[in-house]
Symmetry: C2
Subunit: 214 residues, 2 copies
DNA sequence: TTCCGAATCAATCGAAAGGTTGATGCCCGA
DNA sequence: TCGGGCATCAACCTTTCGATTGATTCGGAA
């Protein structure tokens, strides 16, 4: 019997997940939370009650105003003998995936996954196996080399500031570098995204999932 | 007994909605569809089987690659004696809300709505009453006058092209106006959004829901 | 009739962005 | 060691953008 905690800010989604899991003989939903903080309190409650910790936490990334899924994942996986954390979310950017993986998530699924795939992923996660939704895996494999993102970390940082609407001067001040350096990074960003202006870089960055809407 | 059809590309969401409705004595889920086209076929099937048409269609807006909720709403409400269409979606831009309303939707809810609110909205929609989620109503009332959007239609048009990454010259060609006119509109857009550059206008436009990510 | 907002257009000038060329240093893998 | 990627920086020039000022026309409401 695999015990699962459900964390999602949408009541409908939690209800659907609970219903799906209740139909599967080896999976048991044992709790729900609407954001990361509530999930942490729930896990603490398990410990306080002397109950065995759940095997898997099914975690959304976006939680409205509450603690988001990456932060919650980081804290949960830092607990002694933590449950596996399986991310289940609607939308993914490269940054989302990397953040979740770095935070210790054992898997990453998109919400359009059919129930069988979800069940299979939960079983794998409970065993400690890594699970990536096929589109997510394809996204990550589309990178030329492991550890070699399409944009460098610095380039991505600058693209995000660009999408916040900052001019080059302000970006340079934010990052403590010269404006010439910002421009050089932009040249590289434009090459890699095959664009020729900041606005088209923002558009392409969003389209490819490198950055998300500000 | 209010009969409801559920249209959402996420199996989990459909399952959650079905479970919630099954718990309510006067609401009965009578069908599901994963996109707009399937919803239409389902309604045709009701007619072909001589079954009474459903009272309410609960419709998501974004359907992955399938027919989206606005188009489906338009077609459903064009049917003879159509069901009420209640939009239930994650995210809303002003354009989304207006499009859905223009397409004939009777209501607009966000997915974080608690189950009681959802049930109440379905009952209202079945009676033909208009239902707006509080944040959505607040958004629409935040407009200074009915019929007076924060940005004029032309300004919004230009902001959308800006977010696609087009330079002024290309925007002018796209809209068959002079570049000077584009610049004038931009001046007005920057004033209204209280920004001073195209990139910050894009960021503010997305933040306020005027435009969506490209 | 008057006023206001929207749409359109022009010209000028300064600022910002983009393009180009060139350079250095560091790290890592072959 | 060498080469490549990354990060940093500079200078110069061209293009685009933003700010400003000014104007006209049209439609709708008061």
């Amino acid at each position: 019997m695999i015990t699962v905690v459900l964390v999602d800010d949408h009541p409908v989604v939690r209800r659907g997940l609970r219903a799906l899991l209740e139909e599967l003989p080896e999976l048991e939903p044992v709790g729900e939370a609407a954001d990361g903080a509530e999930a942490l309190r729930l896990l603490e409650q398990f410990a306080a009650d002397g109950r065995p910790r759940p095997d898997v936490v099914l975690m959304d990334l976006q939680m409205g105003a509450g603690m988001n899924g990456v932060e919650a994942t980081r804290r949960i996986t830092a607990l002694p003998d933590p449950p596996a954390v399986l991310i289940l979310t609607t939308y993914s950017t490269d940054a989302d995936i990397l953040s979740a993986v770095e935070a210790g998530a054992t898997g990453y699924l998109l919400k359009d996954a059919p129930p069988e795939e979800l069940a299979s992923a939960i079983r794998s996660a409970a065993k400690g196996d890594t699970v990536l939704a096929p589109p997510v895996a394809a996204r990550l494999l589309g990178r030329s080399r492991p550890g070699r993102p399409v944009l460098s970390p610095r380039e991505l940082e600058i693209l995000e500031l660009l999408a916040e609407g900052l001019p080059n001067r302000q970006i340079s001040k934010r990052l403590f570098i010269s404006e010439a350096t910002v421009k050089t990074h932009l040249v590289h960003i434009y090459e890699k995204l095959r664009v020729d202006s900041r606005t088209s870089a923002i558009a392409a960055g969003m389209q490819t999932g490198l950055i998300r809407a500000r």
